[in-house]
């Protein structure tokens, strides 16, 4: 059941992205930025947490989930450290994802060669 929920919600979030690409000519880069910022905003107004509780990875794997994590991290940091948390929360929450992307990104770009575009 968890897997079905993850499939449906995750799929639907991707459909939103597809409609944006087809209807507005937003580039994938802009889609990524939009989804992260949207995730932060949706968590700020307390809409995203219920979606995560319902769909699990279906809500956390899309990039809106990355934004959700950022927002949750900053909320926690502010509650623990006050004003300082505004500056530490975002990076603390996203540290694992960003580090993984940079380290694996670097390793892959060292090991593999760019394939010629067909």
């Amino acid at each position: 059941m968890d897997f079905l929920k993850a499939f449906i919600i995750g799929g639907l979030i991707c459909v939103v992205g597809q409609i944006l690409i087809d209807k507005t000519k937003l580039t994938p880069a802009r889609i990524l930025v939009t989804f992260v910022v949207l995730g932060v905003f949706l968590q700020l107004i307390r809409v995203y947490q219920p979606l995560v509780d319902f769909a699990g990875a279906g809500a956390t794997v899309p990039l809106t989930g990355f934004g959700y994590n950022l927002c949750k991290g900053v909320e926690k940091a502010v509650s623990e450290k006050g004003f300082l948390g505004i500056f530490t929360g975002g990076f603390t929450a996203s540290a694992a994802g960003i580090s993984a992307a940079l380290v694996f990104g670097f390793l892959v770009s060292i090991i593999f060669r760019s394939k010629p575009k067909k």
């Binding site: 991707c14 459909v15 992205g17 597809q18 889609i31 060669r113």
Partner: protein, 149 residues
Amino acid sequence: MKHEMTNQEYNEYIKKKTPNSKIFTNCIKAFIAGGIICVIGQCITALMKKWGLNQEDAGTYTSIILVFLGALLTGLDIYPRIAKFAGAGTVVPITGFANSVVSPALEAKTEGMVLGTGAKIFTIAGPVILYGILASWLAGIVYWIISLF
């Protein structure tokens, strides 16, 4: 009597129908591909929890593993092939973020380690991190103001 369409009418009819049906097919593909990637994420999370990790750590490991898979499949030139079929279904999940970090870095390899790989790895990661942190900073201000009362 049956109405026969003239060529012009037929062309207009096609014009009216095609973009929408194309968007519809794209959406179905994005739904399936995106859904499958999320189910893979759900599997990893379930496995991590079975091994005794709490929800939060299991979720973090899921992100790390999906980023690894996205990066590796991009290096093997498999992810771009899936992306051709799946569109946003491969862009929106975190594997798509990994893909967008790796592919410019791969292409810039010949420009050197520092200004090639080092700089271009941030081509898309840069904007995502900047606006993500900016948004979280603003959210932090809101949480801080709320905490004052």
